[in-house]
């Protein structure tokens, strides 16, 4: 066991020096600048990687130090709570957070409130009633309306199919606010159309490989599905592979959500029909800009809505340029 010590010290030293390099600049200047924390659900999803880039851009421009932390897995509320507790210890000035659970994160936010750290909520709304009960109030909410995005996708489906389709849906994680809102939006948009039949709706938990498997199974049970709505692009991309494996490429219309780079390539290639674009880069930027306003004592609107856009083949090239 004694021999573990040098290794431990080396690992820590390496990790520290690496992270310092990343932050850049000399440490004196860094400590004098106010620290804004951005706690993400995870960093292994392109959506949050984009959000982080937007936040970093704003932090560099506005002269604040940005600390980004994330749990390893998107649904790990307990780990997010630990991160919040630990960040409070370091005296961050403002906490920006994308909650892993709209209710579950409240216990952590109560701790931030007790430590007088203002909170900015990004991407996933807090549960309004539970937040009021816990006495937690975010300075502002920055995000796009997932329900509206779902409706956008639903209306698009009605238009391109001429109001007649047999639809399979790939849902996100059950009980997840984002998943529920997108699903409700889509269902509401197609509900009034008698020709739009939802023949199957199953969760694939936001994941690409599950999207593949679940849609493959769906096709077994309902070979005549002609339209897929996936509540995220990763699941949509999985479904596209399943469609290719079944030799049905081009026969089934796939509509996704998030407009990831991979999805835009699929739209250009014609294997995917459309995707709802959110602008995580803008969200990250707005989060840090709002945090600086909080530090300066300026007031913020209750909601800062970031636009949504339907990306289809004619628009995907344009959207890609517009992202930077």
């Amino acid at each position: 066991m004694m021999r573990i010590l040098p290794g431990l010290v080396c690992l820590l030293a390496a990790a520290t020096s690496l992270s310092c390099n990343r932050a850049g600049g000399d440490s004196n200047a860094a400590t004098a600048r106010p620290v804004v924390a951005l706690v993400l659900k995870t960093l292994n999803h392109p959506f949050f990687v984009d959000m982080r880039r937007g936040a970093q851009e704003a932090a560099d421009r506005l002269g604040v130090t940005l600390q980004v932390q994330a749990a390893e897995r998107e649904v790990d509320v307990e780990k997010q709570m630990q991160i919040v507790e630990n960040l409070i210890q370091t005296g961050v000035r403002v906490l920006c957070i994308t909650p892993s659970g709209s209710r579950e994160i409240l216990s952590a936010l109560v701790k931030a409130k007790n430590a007088n750290v203002p909170v900015i909520v990004v991407d996933t709304r807090l549960d309004a009633k539970a937040a009021a009960d816990a006495g937690v109030r975010g300075e502002t909410f920055i995000g796009s309306d997932n329900y509206e995005g779902g409706r956008l996708a639903g209306r698009h489906a009605v238009t391109v199919t001429g109001g007649k389709a047999r639809i399979g849906i790939l849902e996100g994680i059950a009980g997840h606010e984002t998943a529920d809102s997108r699903l409700r939006g889509f269902r509401d948009a197609v509900a009034g159309e008698p020709g739009m039949a939802i023949v199957a709706s199953q969760p694939a938990n936001w994941e690409r490989d599950q999207g593949f498997n679940v849609f493959q199974n769906m096709l077994q049970a309902h070979p005549n599905i002609d339209t897929v709505f996936a509540a995220s692009d990763l699941m949509a991309l999985g479904a596209i592979e399943a469609i290719a494996a079944a030799g049905k490429t081009g026969k089934i219309r796939v509509i996704g959500f998030d407009a990831l780079d991979d999805a835009k390539r699929a739209i250009d290639a014609g294997t995917m029909d459309a995707s709802v674009a959110q602008f995580p880069y803008e969200m990250g930027k707005a989060a840090v800009e709002s945090a600086v306003k909080v530090i300066n004592g300026e007031s913020l609107p209750a909601d800062i809505m970031v636009k949504l856009e339907m990306v289809t083949k004619p628009t995907s090239g344009k959207a890609r340029e517009g992202r930077q």
Partner: protein, 307 residues
């Protein structure tokens, strides 16, 4: 063996000293309590895991049992039962799942890896099934006190963790059951031939692991004010890591609970410290993985016969 335990403790102390030198936020009372509180859940699961690993087995189902007993607790509380009823029901769920593991391993003569791998999926599925995949949120303050209350300045989860370790240490070192755990892990055939009732003790060992998983679920549910069917994923790996860093041999028969507690604290301190230093979450995983492998490497090197 004494020297090795000492070594793990020195490892923890040096880790703390390094962090103290690197960041002013580390060595404060509030941060140390913070670490103890964050460590409590993993430490409690790891206590049960230590019993299992000492007996030469492995329990991969602890994370799923945390989820299952947590949602059983959440549903009971939401059905209007008082914690005095809901907590025993939760414990029964955990113990039952654990004992089922033990019975299948013992009577079915199946490898623990396979049985608990199956239970990992079954308990997770059951948790998702009875909740329809949705988290159960919002509990009375009286129940939440199990995670939020402080006795003096010590958070309640830390007291619960201390109690679990005191009781478990007593059971392991001062009762025949405890000695049999070591005996079964050291040499199961020899233990059987010398009259140890394996059929009784094996299920009991896995039931202990189910029990500690349920206790961890209690703290987790109170802490988050929510019982989630997806809670506890990967807890088995954290618990195994804490046990192994603490010097318990994966071959069984050798190890201590004190070591496991120190192992859990090393992981907790490491995670906390890396957060305080602002190390990226990807690097954190590399560092933690390095520590786990390093600890087992040392364990193996020390055990290699000297020539």
């Amino acid at each position: 063996m004494k020297a090795r335990r000492f070594g793990t403790l020195i490892g923890l102390v040096v880790l703390c000293l390094v962090l103290w030198a690197l960041t002013p936020f580390f060595l404060t009372v509030s941060n140390l309590l913070n670490i103890a509180e964050q460590t409590s859940i993993n430490a409690i699961v790891a206590a049960g895991m230590t019993f299992v690993i000492l007996s030469g087995g492995i329990d991969l189902s602890v994370g799923s049992i945390v989820a299952l007993s947590g949602v059983v607790l959440g549903l009971s509380l939401h059905a209007g039962y008082s914690p005095l009823v809901a907590l025993p029901v939760m414990i029964a769920a955990g113990v039952l799942a654990g004992a089922t593991n033990g019975l299948l391993i013992d009577r079915g003569r199946l490898p623990p890896f396979i049985v608990t791998l199956g239970m990992m999926s079954i308990a997770r599925g059951a948790a998702l099934l009875i909740t329809e995949g949705r988290p159960i949120s919002g509990f009375e303050e009286s129940f939440r006190a199990l995670a939020t209350a402080r006795v003096g300045f010590v958070p309640a989860p830390v007291l619960i963790m201390a109690t679990v370790y005191l009781v478990a240490h007593f059971v392991l070192t001062r009762t025949t059951f405890g000695r049999y755990v070591y005996a079964i892990g050291g040499n199961e055939d020899a233990a059987r031939l010398s009259g140890v009732r394996i059929h009784l003790h094996k299920p009991a060992i896995y039931a202990v692991s189910g029990l500690t998983s349920a206790l961890a679920a209690m703290i987790l549910t109170a802490r988050l004010n929510s019982a989630q069917p997806i809670a506890g994923t990967m807890y088995e790996l954290d618990a195994i890591a804490a046990t192994v860093i603490g010097g318990t041999s994966l071959m069984g028969g050798e190890g201590t609970l004190a070591g496991t507690l120190i192992g859990a604290l090393i992981m907790g301190v490491l995670r906390n410290g890396l957060n305080l230093l602002g190390v990226s979450s990807f690097l954190q995983q590399i560092v933690i993985g390095g520590v786990i492998v390093g600890a087992v490497l040392v364990d193996t090197v020390l055990k290699r016969p000297r020539t």
